[in-house]
């Protein structure tokens, strides 16, 4: 057997991380964020929103089968997908904004990978005990006790993963109905496949891969390292205050005065990605700030001021090194880049809101027949055919008029009526929340030249919305 032991290995074996439990202000914040985000994720599909008898009553629903996206009072149709695109752009710029203001706060607090990893690490502590117990169990040989603990832990992982996947599908169908169908085996196969896939990914990514996702797989930390600058808040070990390290005992006997860091390694022990923050900023640091909590606790115990590890900008660090007081965090957040992002983000948001407020709940699209482009009738009249789509985006049936605009002497009729009833205005009832296709034949007197033509759709009710569609009327040229 050849010995595959290169000097510079391309593959680094994962060093398992067993973060220690910690208390403190940032841990509390993490708890709060976890509870809020998980609550939003699990509760949202069960919220109800009355939309009347013609639309589903689920507050947030992505109805792929019927091509509708419901979000409380907003209903997005496929042709309005730019609202969703706008929301996604806002989410992207929002990440930029957060990054430039408070660094990798998304990674540290709100990213699903972080939240679920945190959740699973709590399960680890609950089943196996805190860091030291976990380390001991890891090193112990496989016996009945270890097998039992592992099986229980993985079963809990699997349950959490299953509920994660199970909650996801609730966004795509009526949640109570889908839940019943799911458990009685009547849900669509895609529901089971989706749950199985998400269960598997949550189980693997949250239960086993954990920080490796952040370090190796996720592109966002790479993008963020490019976005951070000297004005970004990052978790900083204040080496000018901490170095040289030494325990309290060593400090008493040392020849030269030692720094504040007592080298207790607590910041390393609590780190969920297993890094040493004292080595400076690094890609493994998701800025969850748990090391700040750990260090603050220790500093309080040894009677030194808090904040040896703290959020700081590179600019501020330089200032602090020269003995100047640090600037308050709220002031650091506001700099040109955050203001620029905020302006763009807010601008898109306002534009979307404006578009949402001004959007019509009625829509007309016109497609002209091109084969044949025009028809001659027996009396020499010229006829063109059009396909109109009348969209009623209200949750009630509406009576609408379709009016022919332009084309002097022109009249129209549809494919379900006789030409004798042709008129310049047709009345149609469009069912609630539906698109009605209307085949129209437009006729003009013999000798009519080709010209522009329009249709106006108008709802005859209190709302009285109007939309227009422009098209062309074709006719034989001269000499035919």
């Amino acid at each position: 057997m050849l010995d595959p032991d290169p000097v510079n290995p391309l593959y680094e074996k994962r060093r398992a991380v067993f973060p220690k439990a910690v208390r403190g202000r940032f841990r509390t914040l993490k708890w709060a964020v976890m509870i809020v985000t998980l609550a939003i994720y699990y509760v949202t599909p069960w919220l109800r929103w009355n939309r009347g008898p013609y639309a589903p009553d689920q507050a947030v629903l992505i109805d792929l089968a019927h091509r509708r996206f419901y979000m409380f009072g907003i209903e997005i149709w496929p042709h309005e997908f730019y609202f969703v695109a706008g929301l996604l752009i806002m989410a992207g710029i929002g990440l930029f904004l957060v990054t430039s203001a408070v660094g990798r706060a998304w990674c540290g607090y709100a990213c699903p990978q972080t939240v679920w990893t945190d959740l699973f690490q709590h399960v680890d502590r609950w089943i196996d005990g805190d860091r030291n117990a976990q380390l001991k169990l890891q090193a112990a040989p496989w016996g009945p006790g270890k097998v039992a603990r592992r099986l229980v832990k993985w079963a809990i992982y699997l349950t959490i993963s299953f509920w994660t996947g199970g909650a996801w599908i609730m966004y795509f169908a009526d949640a109570p109905t889908l839940t019943r169908d799911f458990w009685t085996g009547q849900a669509a196969p895609v529901a089971y496949v989706t749950v199985a896939l998400l269960t598997a990914t949550t189980f693997v990514l949250g239960g086993f891969m954990r920080e490796q996702v952040c370090v190796y797989m996720c592109p966002w930390p790479r993008i963020q390292t490019a976005m951070l600058d000297e004005k970004s808040l990052i978790v900083t070990y204040k080496d000018w205050r901490g170095e040289p390290r030494g325990s309290v005992k060593q400090a008493r006997t040392a020849a030269a005065p030692l720094g504040d860091c007592i080298d207790c390694n607590q910041c390393v022990a609590v780190c969920p990605t297993g890094i040493d923050i004292r080595e400076g900023p690094q890609i493994g640091c998701i800025t969850c700030a748990l090391c700040i909590d750990a260090c603050d606790t220790v500093m309080a115990q040894v009677g030194r001021p808090r904040g040896l590890i703290d959020y700081a900008t590179l600019e501020d660090s330089a200032r602090e090194k020269q003995g100047q007081p640090p600037s308050p965090h709220w002031k650091l957040i506001w700099h040109p880049r955050t203001l620029a992002y905020l302006t763009v983000w807010g601008g898109i948001g306002l534009a979307l809101l404006f578009a949402l407020g001004a959007r019509r709940h009625l829509d007309l699209s016109v497609a002209k027949d091109r084969n044949p482009p025009y028809m001659l009738l027996s009396d020499g009249a010229v006829r063109n055919a059009y396909t109109l789509k009348l969209r009623n985006m209200e949750a009630r049936p509406r009576t609408m008029t379709v009016t022919l605009e332009g084309l002097p002497g022109g009249r129209m009729w549809s494919d379900d009526m006789a030409r004798a009833a042709a008129a310049r205005v047709l009345v149609r009832e469009v069912p609630a929340d539906q698109t009605q296709t209307l085949r129209l034949y437009v006729i003009a007197p013999p000798g009519t030249a080709e010209q522009d033509l329009g249709f106006t759709l108008h709802a005859i009710d209190d709302e009285g919305t109007t939309d227009t569609g422009k098209t062309r009327f074709d006719a034989p040229g001269e000499g035919q």
């Binding site: 010995d3 032991d5 084969n371 009249a381 379900d416 004798a420 310049r424 009345v427 006729i443």
Partner: protein, 332 residues
Amino acid sequence: MAKPDDLPPAAKGQHIDEATGTRTVGHEWDGIEELDTPMPRWWLWTFYLSILFSIGYVVVYPAIPLLHRGTEGLFGWTSRGELAADTKAETDRRAPLMAALAATPIDQLQRNPELMRQAVAGGRAAFRVNCVQCHGAGAAGGAGYPNLNDDDWLWGGNLAEIEQTITHGIRQPGDAATRTSLMPSFGRDGILKPDQVADVAHYVRTLSRKEGPSAAAQRGAALFAANCVACHGPEGKGDRRFGAPNLTDAIWLYGGSLGRTGAGAPNAQPGARPAGGHKLDKATIRMLAAYVHSLGGGEDFAPAAQAAAGAGTATGAANAPATAAAAADARP
């Protein structure tokens, strides 16, 4: 061939590379050597698994071509069988609609707007398969092939008449109910002299005001009265009983130029359309009839549809050119 391990490494030039700790393959080109890096384990396992999979695949699915047939596989799966299953599923899905259509007499169809709508949609698809070869994708026809979009009908334009035409065809030998008529070849058969044919052509063109009165047309009028009125009527308005075209309107089956009108009279080439009844089922024929009827020239709309449409007529009723058309529509 001897395994490399059987030979002493030195004899083959193999040695352990210092930097990587991996054995070299033993070749050397100007001091450049190749490492014999072992396959990654996961890669090998994937490779073995895919071999296992392929064995299973060959057993389960048709795989090995033999002299006349291939192996059939345990599941009996074929792509043709899959197509047949898909086709059957689609046929089953449409079965209720087809049954309803087959059970509804064509003159009752318009009383059921939903069924009518589905029939038109189904007819559009069936038209693409069965009719576009002659009538064109837009149903606009061509010289000799009637345009189905207009309001000029040789054999009648209400649903029942269209269904009759589709079912039994035109000039189809062997179908007792087929529509039959014959335009005599006045020129070729010597019934009329060539200059007489030209005179009739001039007269026919005056009927639809394509040209003004002339001496030739006057001579043609007399010939028309003697030879043509039996089918085309004294006013040239045609007769649907014989499929005789209306000569006074703006629509020409073979073209309205002097040459085309003239050619029709001397050398009539009667068109034929296949009788769909031998090939298509009743429901498909009804769907086709409904589709053709919906193309804009359909006649005899049901009173219900008329009433619904009538709601919108008030504002447009003043328009002039419809009167003639309305009169034409009222024609039986």
